[in-house]
Subunit: 245 residues, 2 copies
DNA sequence: CGCGAAATTGATGCAAGTCAAGGCATGTGG
DNA sequence: CCACATGCCTTGACTTGCATCAATTTCGCG
């Protein structure tokens, strides 16, 4: 867990938006959008910005979650493990998602930075107090939970019923539609996950992921540079390879 | 979708609990528990009891959800399908779960009665009005969403990383812990799902499910009668076969 | 009893896993 | 600047677990 924390302690007039928040990339998509300026000020007084290195664990499986956070930049992977070490990634969170679980003290998951990330973290207690007085906030958290539930169920279909080829194509399609702001027909991006992580997300082995990527490349569905950078000339075609119509 | 509906239109004093609700099996576990007597009366004035036959579809994939419902009795399966017909069950709902999605007009799922079920259904509009005035209700719905999210993620681990044997054992363990009120070390129950449904829930084929059940039987982990009735002499042992420690 | 649906069982094939070797970057110390 | 180590990724040869195809068998029910 890395450093660079920075309390915002300026004397701000209540009706103004705190400077840290005004410049915040997550201000509109994130939970903060439902708060009044004074609530935002209250929250920001207790918030800390953190930069976290790729690969470092944020919350271990079974640990108490004492903090909530908005992801400002980067990708977080949520995963579960069996006692013998088999692992499954059960969700990815992209900026500006909200992280941490309202009303549940225990996390059954471990959260780990897939890329380098920036977060804006708040202590549990402050969030819970705000939830009690701002009904819009709970509504917002509820919506986020429903969105995650939909994503989880979509992925269950992928895990249970798709072939390795379709799984890998589905993953690439997911990344293409979540990372790249472009929504045109062609797109290009860096994979936020290693082959090992992709395998854990898709319920496959590293070797199978690698072979399927090679196959998609040979079929002209994607082009690959440096094994991390992917170019998708035709997103619709990728989607068809993913078994989605 | 089957019949036997019965409006509750008695003249009830506001401070009393409606008779239909007083006798309702779902009153405590379900969403209704957070409502005041007058809100409960309001809700019950618009509610209908329905009995639904096994196998009949309640909401199709992509259809609008115009009703919410509490499950009074039975098991509902939520599933998703690919365009070529491959199917995956993404969740089971047991009484007294709440069904239907708050704040989302489209269901990306289809809901089907796995067993014969009884539900208590309310129109969308009434629920939404109550949510607006009863903050406790949204909290309750939020909690249900988080519970379903946890279950979905647990199942992702099962789908992605467990062997066929572990998957079937996991399913039997799930049913044992959800159907049977007994929490002792031994238990006995009827499977609410056919082999085909079990296969769709586990991402396997009917044949593999059947073979693994036979194998568990030969290993003495379970006993089977009439192919639906299952006896688990040692639940902890079943749990170990499910890959859970 | 006899029909149809559901479940079991067996034989065979194939997709994905396993095991093992090698490639390709990036880093480090001599 | 090179020699060597290290961490990913790719590729190949082989194995295996589950799917597929094909009969039966059992169950539920008129």
């Amino acid at each position: 867990m890395q450093i660079v924390s920075e309390h915002s302690r300026k004397d701000i007039h209540n009706s103004d938006i705190p400077v840290v928040c005004a410049a915040c990339e997550a201000r509109h998509g994130g939970v903060c959008s439902t708060l009044t300026p004074s609530q935002l000020t209250e929250l920001s007084r207790h918030s800390t910005r953190r930069r976290i290195d790729p690969g470092s664990e944020m919350v271990g499986q079974g640990e108490a979650t004492n903090n909530y956070a908005n992801i400002i930049r980067g990708v977080v992977k949520l995963s579960k493990m069996l006692s013998d070490g088999r692992q499954q990634i059960v969700g990815l969170q992209f900026a500006p998602d909200f992280m941490g679980r309202a009303f549940t003290r225990e996390s059954a998951l471990s959260a780990e930075a897939a890329t380098g990330i920036d977060i804006c973290a708040f202590p549990r207690a402050v969030v819970e107090r705000l939830v009690a007085e701002a009904p819009g906030l709970e509504h917002r958290l509820h919506e986020q939970a429903l969105k995650e539930l939909d994503e989880a169920r979509d992925w269950m279909l992928t895990l249970g019923r798709k072939t390795a080829q379709e799984k890998v194509a589905s993953f690439l399609y997911l990344i293409a539609t979540h990372i790249d702001p472009e929504h045109g027909n062609a797109t290009e991006f860096d994979l936020p996950l290693s082959r090992a992580d992709i395998a854990d997300y898709l319920g496959l082995t590293i070797e199978t992921v690698s072979r399927q990527i090679t196959k998609l490349r040979k079929d002209g569905v994607i082009r690959v540079e440096n094994s991390r950078r992917v170019i998708v000339p035709d997103v619709d075609r990728l989607m068809r390879f993913a078994g989605m119509d």
